[in-house]
């Protein structure tokens, strides 16, 4: 610790701190633009110049390390003169178009100019003009003349997003922020640059000119998308969500959010929102009143239980639903006499059910990732599945943590990896088993039965070594591992590897409430999410799922739904494709129009309130389920608030849920055969992962939302006699899809990468499994 003095205040600061750090400790404000606590120090704006005793010239606070006994004056005449001088330079070429600028009211330059700017400009020359650029549907670079060259956006790309899409071209006063020859900005974290830009140079394209910042009310919320539970500030005007911004939470999302979290709100205002209940009458869906719809559903469900028994009914929720909704869904289903309820539509293998020691979770706190010495991620499209989780691992790798990946495609995670194994989905268990065996060999531990035939390769040894060195290590199972037909085997292997290495292990979790679904016990005692379609039922209740896009085998799901006597959908959107199987549509509200809770991957309970009134006649899912319970005269459905529902599940004021435990018992290893023939690899593209993102027109214009293709490596293409760019017929079971073939060396041999969750592939079958491809 060093003793220093800032503006006469004594302070003790850790060695290695800068004057800026120290000032923040004592609460002294030093004006700045280029400095950002999460980015490297550029010291280029020079706004933070302060006086340091004995220094002949003013020093930039952001870059000057403190020394013992240093005396700093942040507002002395020398400091203020220097700061004013810099401000004058910043303003001479700035358009000063605050009245028409989107940043107006939240602009650091505007704020500081009031304090430090002169009244009249001494600069009488023509100002610099910088041409606008089109960099895609999310970030606007329409007014680059406003740029003050702080390079925050460039550093963000290089350091946080892991990809340098923006750079500062040219030199001198012609320096200009741009992309490489007019390319678009495609990072899944790009929207953060808008927040980082201290002026109105980078703005939000969907938000531009739609409101002034001071007209917006700011409300807290939680992202309903991935399993982090990013904290949001949702800004609302006239009951309409106008903008979503990160709410800083160092433990979860730090100061970032993904573009999915930021721009999905466009879906809230989509014309596809379902605003009135609908019932199929004479083959067509008709709008009806709520009481008519609820009566209809209650009668139909009762009829079916009477004639076919409760087990003729199945209910499927989504891991994007709230804790309260999932709780009421399972309670309702059980009340109707059925144990067929689930919230994991993209799963295939449920053999771990009943063998779990507790609620599966991440295995550690998100904030602990930064302290890991090594991490292994198994089966994940990391960047696209979990943008900010990937970001934490990226930072870990940047400061010398060893991050390894075992995955089913060679997609670049933009992380400098320690080791990477890319194998076909069927080989995933073997690849992980090889690491287990390598770890057993390295630690001279007896090998568990079933793994004898495995030969660890050099890479698996490298991974095992990394997991054995250092203090804290972790193994993470991603979405693919959970969706795999051998999910339970992967789970058990990870558990074994963790035991051998002393690493923690856990699941990253597919969605906002992947842990919450377990906590709400939205779990089958009869048929699970796969079986309920494999063994068709008489009635289905669907909560927030669009089965043709959200199920492991949409072909089978849709067939089962079509033959059912009753399909009830609780949904915020009109489901186009579903129109021929749904009998009743009940408009429920998205996360912004309801209260509820999500339990994130680390088991953290985050409750939130609605930020806007429900659109049209839509109602929060928990209320709809409550009324249904009442109409059906099922006991225990008298709730006044969602908090009451929550309190039935959790101890009051729980910050974290109890019972988190990834243990798995009584499963023996059997690695399964590797079949001949082509295998499908189905990722869930980032902007198709849930109904809300699918309805965000802004996100649907990005490159990540491009229609799926059939991607194969050159060897597979040659083997199937298909050329890059050819039209191909992709077949699973009885149905097919027409796609364009693409050469892609990141796909392992004998595999075809065909994305799920898209209308063009909704006819297909299993996400991972046999697939045929032929020339169309």
């Amino acid at each position: 610790m060093l003793d220093i003095e800032i503006d006469g205040k004594q302070a003790q600061v850790p060695a290695g701190s800068t004057i800026m750090d120290a000032a923040q400790l004592v609460g002294a404000y030093i004006p700045h633009f280029c400095y950002h606590k999460k980015l490297s120090i550029a010291a280029n704006c020079r706004m933070c110049l302060v006086q340091v005793e004995k220094a002949p010239k003013p020093m930039p606070a952001c870059a000057t390390p403190v020394t013992s006994g240093m005396k700093v004056f942040t507002h002395s005449e020398l400091a203020v003169t220097a700061q004013k001088g810099v401000m004058e330079f910043l303003l001479i070429n700035h358009p000063l178009d605050c009245p028409i600028c989107d940043q107006g009211g939240e602009c650091q330059l505007q704020d500081l100019a009031v304090g430090y700017g002169g009244s009249a400009s001494r600069y009488q020359e023509a100002k610099r003009v910088v041409f606008h650029k089109d960099v895609g549907p999310l970030v606007s670079m329409q007014e680059m003349s406003r740029c003050i060259h702080c390079t925050r956006c460039v550093r963000f790309g290089q350091e946080i997003a892991g990809v340098m899409e923006l750079g500062m071209a040219n030199r001198n006063m012609h320096s200009e922020i741009q992309t490489f020859v007019g390319r678009t900005v495609d990072s899944e974290l790009s929207g953060n640059m808008i927040d980082l830009c201290p002026v109105g140079a980078l703005t939000s394209k969907p938000f531009r000119y739609s409101a002034r910042s001071w007209e917006l009310s700011r409300r807290k919320s939680i992202s309903p998308h991935d399993s982090l539970g990013s904290n949001l500030t949702v800004q609302v005007k006239d009951n309409r969500v106008m903008r979503v911004l990160p709410r800083e939470n160092e433990e979860i999302n730090e100061c970032w959010i993904s573009d999915k979290d930021r721009f999905s709100y466009a879906g809230l205002n989509s014309a596809e929102r379902l605003q009135k209940p609908m019932i199929r009458v004479d083959g067509a869906l008709r709008e009806v009143d709520w009481n008519v719809a609820l009566d209809y559903v209650a009668h139909a469900l009762k009829d079916i239980t009477k004639t076919h028994g409760g087990e003729a009914i199945a209910a499927l929720g989504s891991a994007h639903s709230t804790l309260e909704e999932l709780h009421l869904l399972q309670k309702l289903t059980r009340g109707l006499g059925s144990g067929s309820v689930d919230f994991r539509p993209r799963r295939r293998d449920f053999s771990a059910d009943g063998k779990l020691a507790g609620t599966p979770w991440l295995g550690l706190k998100l904030a602990q990732i930064g302290q890991l010495d090594a991490a292994l991620v198994v089966g994940s499209f990391l960047r696209k599945d979990h943008p900010l989780f990937a970001q934490r691992l990226r930072q870990l790798a940047r400061k010398s943590g060893k991050v390894s990946l075992i995955s089913v495609t060679g997609d670049d995670p933009l992380i400098s990896l320690h080791a990477q194994l890319t194998v076909s989905p069927e080989e995933l268990t073997r690849a992980l088993a090889a690491v287990v065996k390598a770890a057993a060999q390295l630690t001279n531990t007896a090998l568990p039965a079933g793994l004898e035939s495995i030969e660890p390769c050099a890479t698996s040894q490298l991974i095992a070594q990394s997991l054995l060195a250092g203090e804290q290590r972790a193994i993470f199972l991603g979405n693919v591992a959970e969706q795999s037909a051998q999910a339970a085997q992967l789970h058990a292997l990870a558990a074994e590897l963790a035991r051998l290495t002393g690493a923690s292990f856990g699941f990253i979790g597919e969605a906002a409430n992947s842990v919450g679904g377990y906590v709400a016990k939205a779990l089958p005692t009869a048929l699970n999410a796969y079986e309920m379609f494999a063994q068709p039922r008489q009635a289905y209740v669907l909560l927030g799922v669009e089965p043709e896009l959200d199920c492991y085998n949409p072909q089978q799901a849709v067939a089962a739904l079509k033959q059912a006597a009753l399909v009830v959908m609780l949904t915020p959107f009109k489901p186009n494709a579903a129109l021929d199987y749904a009998d009743v549509l009940l408009p429920t509200t998205p996360f912004t129009e309801t209260s509820g809770s999500f339990v994130n991957c680390e088991g953290r309970v985050q409750s939130f309130n609605g930020v806007a009134r429900p659109l049209g006649d839509a109602r929060p899912g928990w209320k709809v389920l409550r009324v249904l319970g009442n109409v059906l005269a099922i006991d225990g459905f008298d709730y006044d608030s969602s908090e009451q529902v929550r309190d039935e599940i959790l101890a009051p004021d729980s910050l974290f849920v109890d019972g988190l435990d990834n243990g798995i018992n009584g499963l023996s290893f059997s690695l399964g055969a590797v079949t001949a023939g082509l295998q499908r690899i189905a990722e869930v593209p980032i902007y198709f992962a849930d109904p809300l993102v699918r309805h965000s027109d802004a996100l649907q214009q990005t490159r990540d939302a491009a229609a799926p293709t059939a991607r194969m490596c050159a060897a597979t293409l040659a083997q199937t006699g298909i050329t890059d760019g050819a039209q191909v017929r992709v077949r699973q079971g009885q149905a097919e899809a027409l796609l364009t073939a693409r050469a892609d060396e990141s796909v392992p041999p004998a595999c075809v990468r065909v994305a799920a969750a898209h209308a063009s592939t909704a006819t297909l079958g299993d996400m991972f499994g046999a697939i045929n491809v032929e020339r169309a």
Binding site: A43, N44, R46, P56, K57, F89, M168, R171
Partner: protein, 442 residues
Amino acid sequence: MAILGALNPMLTVGLNGDKAWRLDDYVKRDGYSALKKILAGKMPQDQVINEVKKSVLRGRGGAGFPTGLKWSFMPRAFSGDKYLVCNSDEGEPGTFKDRDILLFNPHSVIEGMIIAAYAMGAARGYNYIHGEVWEVYTRFEEALDEALAAGLLGKNILGSGFDFELFAHHGYGAYICGEETALLESIEGKKGQPRFKPPFPASFGLYGKPTTINNTETFAAIPLIMNLGGEAYLESGKANNGGTKLFSVSGHVNRPGNYEIPLGTPFPILLEMAGGMRGGRELKGCIPGGSSSPVVPASIMMDCTMDYDSISKAGSMLGSGAVIVMDETTCMVKALERLSFFYYEESCGQCTPCREGTNWLYRIVHRIENGQGRADDLDLLGSVTTNIMGRTICALGDAASMPVQSFVKHFRDEFAYHIEHKKCLVPPDIQRAGSGFFKATV
């Protein structure tokens, strides 16, 4: 041969063979003898550094920082890679000495660098060569090949067990890369944008490793110092200003070129060596240390001796030793306009005061030169320069400001005349005659 003359030459002594740059020629001139002595006698690293300290060799790149002291900053105990970098970027207007050293005596630089690498424990070095001088780059690469073939570079130099690899890196047109940290960024394959210091290169240099950077001429002096001994070298110059130095004389003289003189030699002698004033005209002003150093009016200049201390007393800097001579045909506003354009053009663009300020300065001087000056422009120039100086990441901001301040200070009347009369004090035909360009045809 472009080294046109010398007084008591050391750096350029014996440079008269027609292939003086060859290894055999250099060896004939006692080349590599210093290195051999050091390696054969396993001279302690400290002793090498001490000898350089004793010589009071001051960096020839511009700042005049004592070389021995700089070398002693390199961390001794550091176990990883350390780097040695030679700065031959030579972009300071008026300076063209490093070019001639590398063209005619490249092995002196190589030998100096090997000795330096030995003294500081660096295993790898780069010579960053100015973009526009392609033949210098190829010449230096040839010299490297010769040295490598002779076992003077690479692994186990002369059987001593000491390894040093040296490569040439070719610049591509950016003055700022002469600034040492911009130069490092440039070697790393980036834009040449200077780094904020601290940390200094000795702790965080090339690829983040401890690095020492010296100018070409600085390295070229090292073998001499080791052969002569530090004290003898110091004595050949003047107290606190060790040795001889190359001066690049340009502008209105009869024989522009490089001249080697002992530090402390009176300016009139240098002027005379350069053939005196062109056309016998009167000296008006002189920029004694490259374009970034303040201009000195004739009367003061004629009383200076050419060394760091004397020039500094005259209110300027010896800098890189580039002497730009201007006679009475020179329009000082136009001269400053061209310099201001240079700094505006060459600003790397990262820090606000330099990026915006150099542009502003140029625009003001430009409008004065073009008859659109305003009454308060000279004060404005002064105020803009104070807002730049000392507030930038690197010294380019100061380098751009000092000419403006000094030109306005010493030739204020001429600037005022321009503003008031919207034309130049020096008639256009006289200005035109000054350059001598049309002499042949007119």
